[in-house]
């Protein structure tokens, strides 16, 4: 009883710490150079090492830094946790195995046994998005960046998914893959109406997949920043400082919500990927 109470206290205080840091980030003049007050500022790409690759701008930016950080963390975690490969797993190994089984079951339930060769791809997508989302929730003033709040990143991942779906579908079913757009058991005179609808719904898949993740992360971080900014504004407004605990409490609550959203959106992305892959594996129903 008291142990779970302690855990709740610990959770609450860590949320408060995160929210506090957000608030501090919002108000402190030390980091407030330029547009630090703006809730949009956190989405800016900062060029750390300018690079050129075949005439393209391949600069190492803060986004690159977070991608490389996520890659390193995931690789280090999964490989070091499984180093021992103990029969009775420890904490880290349990975590790695649970993540594996979770994604494995998701792929098997949504794509089926014959689509299990997509498991590494879905796992990579899930854990990459998850870690990028969660890293964005760890406030490091002036540094914190959420890669998944960039539409170009989520769009690229969604396009990758849909291209794999189309490519694999054509590879397995040939032109029969396009029967996906022809609903079965429908009178012929309805088809001219239904086929365009199906095509549009298929095309909207990568759009909704990318925009869902992008918008969730963007909106969440903007809301956090605005409420955290209120704390600073009120504190600096003389008597009104009395009211500052209100937005602070909201910031704490929003932080909890955003942690949930960070995990949930990674899962949603993975599950939708599985459902789309299922179409490629099984063809028209």
């Amino acid at each position: 009883m008291s142990a779970s109470h302690d855990k709740q206290l610990g959770l609450m205080s860590s949320l408060a710490a995160i929210a506090g840091a957000q608030a501090l980030y919002g108000v402190s003049p030390a980091w407030a150079e330029g547009a630090a007050h703006s809730p949009i500022h956190q989405f800016e790409i900062n060029n750390l090492i300018p690079l050129k690759l075949f005439g393209f701008d391949a600069s190492f930016t803060n986004a690159s830094l977070y991608m490389v950080l996520a890659l390193s963390l995931i690789s280090f975690f999964l490989i070091s946790a499984m180093r021992q490969g103990a029969l009775v797993p420890g904490r880290m190994q349990s975590l790695a195995e649970l993540t594996y089984k979770f994604v494995h079951d998701t792929v098997r339930e949504n794509v089926g046994e014959e689509g299990m060769h997509f498991f590494p791809f879905v796992f990579a997508l899930f854990i990459f998005v998850l870690v990028l989302n969660v890293l964005g929730m760890i406030p490091i003033p002036g540094v914190t960046f959420t890669v998944t709040s960039q539409i170009v990143v989520t769009a690229a991942l969604a396009l990758l998914v849909i291209l794999i779906v189309i490519g694999y579908g054509l590879y397995v079913h040939g032109l029969g893959f396009f029967k996906l757009f022809v609903p079965s058991g429908v009178p012929a005179w309805l088809l001219p109406l239904l086929i365009p609808i199906e095509v549009i719904s298929f095309i909207s898949r990568p759009i909704s997949l990318s925009v869902r993740l992008f918008a969730n992360m963007l909106a969440g971080h903007i809301a956090l920043k605005i409420f955290a900014g209120f704390v600073g504004t009120l504190l600096a407004a003389g008597v009104w400082a009395i009211l500052s605990p209100l937005p602070m409490a909201l910031t704490v609550a929003l932080t909890a919500l955003e942690v949930l959203v960070a995990v949930l959106q990674a899962y949603v992305f993975a599950v939708l990927t599985c459902i789309y892959l299922s179409d490629a594996v099984h063809g028209a129903h």
Partner: protein
């Protein structure tokens, strides 16, 4: 894709302070100048992640999980086998017990029969011996009786001859006496 660095839109920020104001600038996620580096680094990191996961990390976890599943299955199988062996040993024991029981019954019956036969044989032998002795005894008795009877005749003859000589002074010969005895009335 979007390698338009000489396009009209503002270039990448080179530092936090370079991008002042914020209100006038375009919304950062929609700034096409940032697309190329993000896409390139996304491709690099995601490819590397996919490579590491599919070649190293995930097969390793799969191996460990499979090994554990195998180990559990092996242990269960071993338990099943040992249980089977125990059952078999128990059955063998029961069988041995039953065999021993029926053997014991057989041995008892056999022993009883053997003892009975022994007793019979002994009895027969003793009976035969007894019979032989009885027969012999009877024979001896008969012989003695015959001899005794013969002696009685002799004694009678001698006595008769003595009586005759005493009475009539005639020395009767043995043949006469014998003859006379043989013709005694009531004989």
């Amino acid at each position: 894709m979007a390698g338009t660095s000489e396009h009209g839109t503002p270039a990448l920020n080179t530092g936090t302070e370079a991008h002042g104001g914020g209100a006038a600038a375009s919304f950062p996620p929609f700034n096409p100048d940032t697309f190329a580096p993000q896409l390139i680094w996304l491709a690099l990191t995601f490819a590397a992640l996919y490579y590491i996961l599919s070649r190293k990390a995930l097969p390793r976890i799969a191996d460990v999980l499979e090994e554990r599943a195998n180990r559990i299955k092996r242990d269960l199988d071993a338990a099943e086998r040992l249980k089977g062996e125990t059952d078999k040993a128990l059955a063998t024991y029961e069988q041995a017990l039953n065999d021993a029981k029926s053997n014991a019954g057989g041995i008892a019956k056999e022993t009883r029969a053997k003892l009975a036969a022994d007793v019979d044989r002994e009895k027969t032998a003793v009976d035969a011996q007894m019979n032989a002795k009885v027969t012999e005894a009877e024979a001896r008795i008969a012989a003695t009786k015959t001899k005794a009877l013969a002696s009685v005749n002799d004694i009678a003859a001698t006595t008769a001859a003595a009586i005759v000589s005493q009475l009539i002074g005639h020395e009767a010969t043995a043949d006469e006496v014998k003859n006379a005895l043989a013709h005694l009335p009531g004989k």
